[in-house]
Amino acid sequence: MTVTVEKARTGKPRTANRAGRPHAAWALPGVLFFTFFAVVPMALALYLSFTSWDGLADPKPVGLDNWKKLLDDPRMTQSLWLTVVLTFASWAFQTVVALLLGVWAAGRQRNRAILSAVFFVPFLLSSTAIAILFYALLDPNFGIIQKDTLGSQSGAFLAIVFVGGWQFIPFHTLIYQGGARQIPDVLYQAAAIDGAGRYRQFFSITLPQLRHTITTSTVLMVVGSLTYFETVLILTKGGPGTDTAILPYLMYEAGFKTYDFGYASAIASFLVIAATGLSLVLVRLTGFGAMRSTREGM
């Protein structure tokens, strides 16, 4: 995402704009951190994906074997499908709720501020703590819902989507709240004069004005869903059977349960490529990269 944005900017250099900007050296600490903690590990993972390594002996080069396996593995196909469904379901659930909550919370009454703060609490908890909490609540014999929730595919899937939403909706609500507060009041005033009602105002002003906010939030959700892991590990361990074994879980299993680090690295590399590709596509399709203001013509 960032890359594209910078590219778009550097594409048309304007000397005037450079004046007040910091020197390139200011980016050095960030670049160094990113190199050591992201680029280097990613390169190592990519290298490992062309080897066979059990974590003990030296990695043995195996060429494209792991990548071929990736294409042939029926579990990979299932995982990919599950990941896509999970991503879409999470996106739909979180976007609808967060958008409505965010727009509502953008009002300026005092109670809303307090409620917004309360809504935000789940996001402050660690994913692991949340997953353990819900695992206990969903216990089929001693929990509050004494059903076989996590023992059926639909139940386990809904639980994962719900728990993920419970955790991340507050964050996206905050983004939407910020976005909604940026919308100039004059637009609503003008609409009111023209006789537009609440719903008309929402669909004709709020939603279009939040276009870029939706893109930002969506990219974060999609990329987040692709790396969604702790909740699945704790709630379902990919089960029942392999019904919720999404890609990050499959990667964990290949690496830290079967000790096939080469294959795990291939899955990890695939995830990086897919996530980068997806966010680029999203940014491109929505015109976000062009950085046009939503307030054109204002």
Binding site: P240, F256, Y259
Partner: protein, 453 residues
């Protein structure tokens, strides 16, 4: 932290001062692994023995039973043997669920343990292949304490290719059919000795709205226990032996299919209730269902007793019953055969800097004191002196049952996942999980297992 402080002053290494740069370089690495002292951190946290201060590290599975190992380490560190070898042992307790991955990653790093807990057999095969294990065969053969200290069958169960790589260090862990005496008495039932009786009991229990068996299905390994016993009872221990020895076609043995079909019948019949795929053993779900009488029986390792004693002491003391797994009509397996873990083992890392100290520490596991500590914890040691100690167990009757069960068993099959090792074991778990969750049929299960590699 203690040991890294030692490095700055150099106190633990005979007063040799270390420069600040050295500390920043090597110290930052060892900070992560503080106290794992393999060479890098050559100083004892407790000041070391005689100022020489060699400390070796032992990784152990950190559950309730770890207090026995802690006591053993404390006793050994004060012993003459430790003084003679010039060092001490430090115990690193790793939480159970993290044990295997943590060991695996540590073994490839500079902070590898000198001595580590394992399940013998397939669980250490990759380590043996990577040349990371000390072959203990000659050491054991040449030492009367070790040679005669353990039950030979248990010692042999941890072997690889006829060579010893481990020393038994925990209690026996046969899988036992536990039952709730109160429920059985109330419904006038006897523990089953044949499969037909078991089905009959199931029918009666279901009529009384009691789930016949507790099962922690979300952990998968409790499901595995059913297949292990059924395959043994139907086809004998040779069936799995063939698979363990690397012949994947062994999964095609009719006994495996038959066992999977019996399991499927049990599931469809509601023998495990309708929610078992989301019940866990590890978090206490299945033991609680069993102790509270919601389920009448529980097929589980011998540690079920200490688990229940910890969580539901009244139930463990008065209403917990135990029996052998029943025979299956037409099966060729001996009813005395046992599956489970013979015990756990200590193995020595080939890269250790103080092998004498490590071997000395392993010898302590054959001592009477060590065996007594296991007994006091409710375990049954695998030492040759165990029979004499059984009477002092908190539950002598249960200890005797377990001891006889293992002692008289014509065959003791190591848990399949441990025997196959992590790689294959995990893939087998996946297939078992699918079978129990109804995602694959018995014949699909067999086909899938044949394809595992």
């Amino acid at each position: 932290m203690e040991s890294s402080r030692g490095q700055v002053t150099g106190g633990g290494t005979g007063g040799r001062p270390f420069s600040r740069r050295w500390f920043l370089g090597a110290g930052s690495a060892s900070l992560l692994t503080a106290g794992l002292g393999t060479g890098l951190t050559a100083c004892g946290s407790g000041g070391g023995a005689g100022g020489d201060g060699k400390t070796i590290t032992a990784f152990v599975y950190g559950d309730d039973a770890v207090k026995v190992q802690q006591a053993g380490v404390d006793r050994f560190n004060k012993s003459a043997a430790a003084k003679k070898a010039g060092g001490t042992v430090k115990l690193q307790k790793v939480p159970g669920s993290d044990y295997s991955p943590k060991l695996r990653t540590a073994m490839g790093s500079p902070s590898a343990p000198d001595v580590f807990f394992n399940w013998g057999g397939g669980s250490i095969k990759p380590y043996e292949e990577a040349g990371k294990l000390v072959d203990l065969t000659d050491i054991i053969e040449g030492d009367p304490v070790l040679k005669d200290g353990f039950l030979p069958s248990v010692l042999a169960s941890g072997d690889l290719g006829g060579r010893h790589y481990g020393i038994p260090m925990r209690g026996m862990q046969p899988v036992i059919l536990f039952y709730n005496k109160a429920v059985f008495t109330e419904h006038k039932l006897q523990p089953p000795t044949t499969w037909d009786q078991l089905l009959d009991i199931n029918a009666k229990l279901k009529k009384a709205k009691i789930t016949p068996f507790a099962l922690g299905g979300s952990d998968i390994w409790p499901e595995l226990m059913w297949l292990e016993y059924l395959v043994d009872r139907i086809g004998g221990p040779e069936v799995f032996k063939r698979i363990q020895d690397g012949d994947a076609e062994g999964w095609g043995d009719p006994a495996v299919l038959k066992a999977a079909e019996l399991v499927k019948e049990l599931i469809d019949d509601g023998a495990f209730g309708s929610k078992f795929t989301s019940v866990s053993y590890v978090n206490g779900g299945a033991p609680a269902v069993f102790a509270r009488g919601k389920a009448a029986m529980h097929l589980m390792g011998s540690w079920e007793y200490s688990t229940q004693l910890g969580k539901f002491p009244d139930f463990a003391k008065t209403n917990l019953g135990w029996a052998a797994f029943p025979t299956v009509e037409g099966g060729t397996g001996d009813v005395r055969n046992v599956v489970g873990n013979p015990t756990n083992y200590w193995s020595i890392n080939a890269r250790t800097k103080n092998k004498d100290l490590a071997v000395g520490f392993l010898k302590d596991c054959a001592s009477k004191e060590y065996a007594q500590a296991l007994i006091d914890n409710g375990d049954v040691p695998t030492t040759s002196n165990a029979a004499d100690l059984l009477a002092s167990s908190p539950n002598p009757e249960y200890a005797k049952f377990q001891y006889d069960m293992v002692e008289k068993a014509p065959a003791f099959t190591l848990s399949w996942d441990q025997a196959l090792g992590d790689g294959l074991g995990t893939k087998m778990h996946t297939e078992i999980g699918k079978l129990f969750a109804g995602q694959s049929s018995p014949s699909e299960f067999v086909t899938a297992c044949k394809g595992l590699k």
